[in-house]
């Protein structure tokens, strides 16, 4: 028996191999969504490489990891994700990864009293639209970055401070812009329920066809209710999202038309993912600006 154990240990040492980080992987930070990636990028600047698993326009609720993600996650020094179950089944993957890797979520330092709950228990995961709390939630991530790369501490803190001010100013400016729409018309209708925080931050009424996660299909009742609402309130425009198929929303559009009322599609909003490079919505602040501009344009 003893000999058997020895053999096992020997075999184990032969077949195991040392885990080591190469020099370039030492600086690799992998984020789940493009939104988290951009926020981290604002802090680390050009000092570290930041990559995101989900590219522009990818829906995080139903995302499945691909082979390239395996390589990225395996090599990363730090893995950053949103939390609040935004990443659906990836959440389990992250929690398993945290047993052997540095993993941190924006959820950690997000102020608890600012969380909205959809049915009393499940938190609404689209927290980045509550801009102040989101930036506050970044504190934990920045602390982790400083802990891992103490040599850049000053720079990271400075970048973060600058980013915070920028977001605060932009929020104020955008709020002002939206408040120019008369209050009765200030209703935002989208395909999935991603804009509750947005509505609270920018003072706009929010309605959606699907629930908080895109994985649930809208029922007949949801469509009828929404059509009634649009006709009753004479809503001028409804909005599609870049990461959600517009099919369901189109059916609402034609139902409204059948009732003899016309509502237009007010452009594409960026909810769960940023836009592609050059679209103007490829950064967090750019995305907020784009959304507010489209809403204002549509509801004017």
């Amino acid at each position: 028996m003893k000999r058997f154990v020895y053999i096992l240990i020997c075999a184990g040492t032969v077949f195991s191999c040392k885990v080591k980080q190469t020099k370039e992987n030492e600086k690799l930070i992998v984020c789940s969504t493009s939104i988290t990636a951009d926020c981290v990028r604002q802090v680390v600047g050009s000092k570290l490489t930041v990559k995101s698993l989900m590219g522009p326009g990818v829906d995080p609720h139903t995302y499945n990891p691909r082979p390239s993600d395996v390589v990225l996650l395996n090599d990363a020094r730090l893995v950053v994700y949103t939390g609040f179950h935004l990443e659906g089944k990836m959440a389990e993957l992250f929690s398993r990864l945290s047993e052997r890797k540095e993993v941190i979520s924006f959820q950690l330092d997000f102020p608890k009293q600012r969380i909205l709950y959809t049915d009393g228990i499940t938190p609404d995961p689209h927290v980045w639209f509550d801009t102040d709390s989101w930036v506050h939630g970044m504190n934990g991530v920045v602390d982790k970055l400083v802990e891992l790369y103490p040599q850049y501490e000053l720079e990271f803190r400075e970048n973060f401070y600058r980013f915070m001010i920028q977001v605060q100013q932009k929020t104020k400016e955008l709020k002002q812009k939206l408040s120019e729409i008369p209050e009765k018309q200030r209703v935002l209708i989208t395909s999935h329920d991603a804009f509750h925080y947005f509505g609270r931050t920018f003072d706009i009424r929010v309605k959606a066809l699907q629930g908080v996660s895109t994985s649930q299909e809208p029922g007949m009742r949801d469509v009828v209710d929404l059509v009634d609402f649009i006709v009753d309130h004479k809503v001028k425009a409804i909005f599609v999202e870049n990461s959600v198929s517009p099919k369901a929303l189109k059916s609402v559009l034609s139902s409204v038309e059948r009732r003899g009322y016309h509502v237009k599609i007010g452009g594409t909003l960026f909810s769960d993912a940023l836009g592609s490079k050059g679209s103007g919505a490829d950064t967090y602040v750019g995305m907020l600006t784009h959304n507010v501009n489209s809403i204002k344009e549509g509801l004017k």
């Binding site: 040392k18 499945n64 082979p67 395996v70 090599d75 389990e92 052997r100």
Partner: protein
């Protein structure tokens, strides 16, 4: 390094599957294999609900029990109620599987680790990232470490009982006549099959695991004469399909497990088309 780990993880599922598959295909028990890999689902869910973890030990018990239950239920329906075999199999596994899906939907809740999609299609990528590291030494993924003992057991069972398996597969009447416990062989196979189904359901899912069971064995049977060679070829085909699947998956950057099954299907098709040539060469 990453590639090797991916291939090894895929192989750890594919090798035992292709070995078990040979036994299933040569005895035309493929549908029973299909049935068992689906029917373990309620067992997995009950074990998960009772233990609250995805640890393998309670899951193995749950699966072994449902595996046996399935075999008995099929036999019972067939012999006692005189229902034809395919109908009995069809009834048993769809019923048990549906029960499992319902149980996930009702009890396991929205935020649980078990979700239907994962159970159906599996997720090799996630299981590759689930690595066992002790003191900065990497020992492999959890899937490899779980399935390796099963593979070794399976190899021992096949080698030690090789003659028995031969009789069991091709001449059971003769076997019972000379006193070989044919029923026991069948039960051992079903037990190993349900254990394999449980250990691999996270990586490949219940639908695709049937492909890994059937296809390499069917391909191997096309061009090998003896049972021993069929085992060897089948395992080799399983490994080759994993290598191709992983590299294709990395190249196109899509899910690996369906690709592995696709590669297996292609190999089977090729074997069908190539075989007549080979035969005609031999005869001429």
């Amino acid at each position: 390094m990453n590639d090797l780990l991916m291939i090894l993880t895929a192989c750890s599922v594919a090798i035992p599957a292709s070995l078990l598959g040979v036994l299933l295909v040569s005895k035309s028990l493929v549908m029973v294999g299909d049935a068992i890999s689906h029917a373990v689902l309620p067992g997995i869910v009950v074990a998960y609900l009772l233990s609250g973890t995805k640890d393998s030990v309670p899951m193995l018990f749950g699966a072994a029990i449902t595996g046996f239950l399935t075999t008995f239920l099929i036999d019972f329906l067939r012999k006692k109620w005189r229902i034809q075999e395919d109908a009995a199999i069809g009834f048993t596994f769809t019923f048990l599987f549906a029960l499992g899906v319902l149980m996930i939907a009702i009890f396991a809740g929205k935020n649980s680790d078990l979700d239907q999609e994962c159970v159906l299609y599996g997720d090799l990528e996630t299981s590759i990232l689930d690595q066992v590291i002790v003191g900065s030494y990497l020992y492999g993924t959890r899937a490899i470490l779980q399935l390796l003992p099963l593979t070794i057991t399976l190899l021992i069972v096949i080698i030690v009982g090789f003659k028995g398996w031969k009789v069991w597969a091709f001449n059971p009447q003769f076997g019972s006549f000379i006193g070989i416990p044919i029923q026991a062989f069948q039960l051992v196979l079903m037990l190993l099959l349900s254990i394999h189904a449980v250990l691999s359901f996270e990586s490949v899912g219940v639908i695709l695991v049937v492909g890994l069971l059937v296809l390499p064995a069917a391909t191997a049977l096309q061009f090998s004469g003896t049972l021993a060679r069929t085992f060897l070829y089948s395992a080799c085909i399983g490994i080759v399909s994993c290598v191709f699947g992983v590299f294709l998956g990395k190249w196109i950057n899509i899910s690996i497990s369906p690709l592995i099954v696709c590669v297996n299907g292609l190999l089977f098709l090729i074997s069908i088309f190539v075989l007549p040539f080979k035969k005609s060469i031999r005869s001429s």
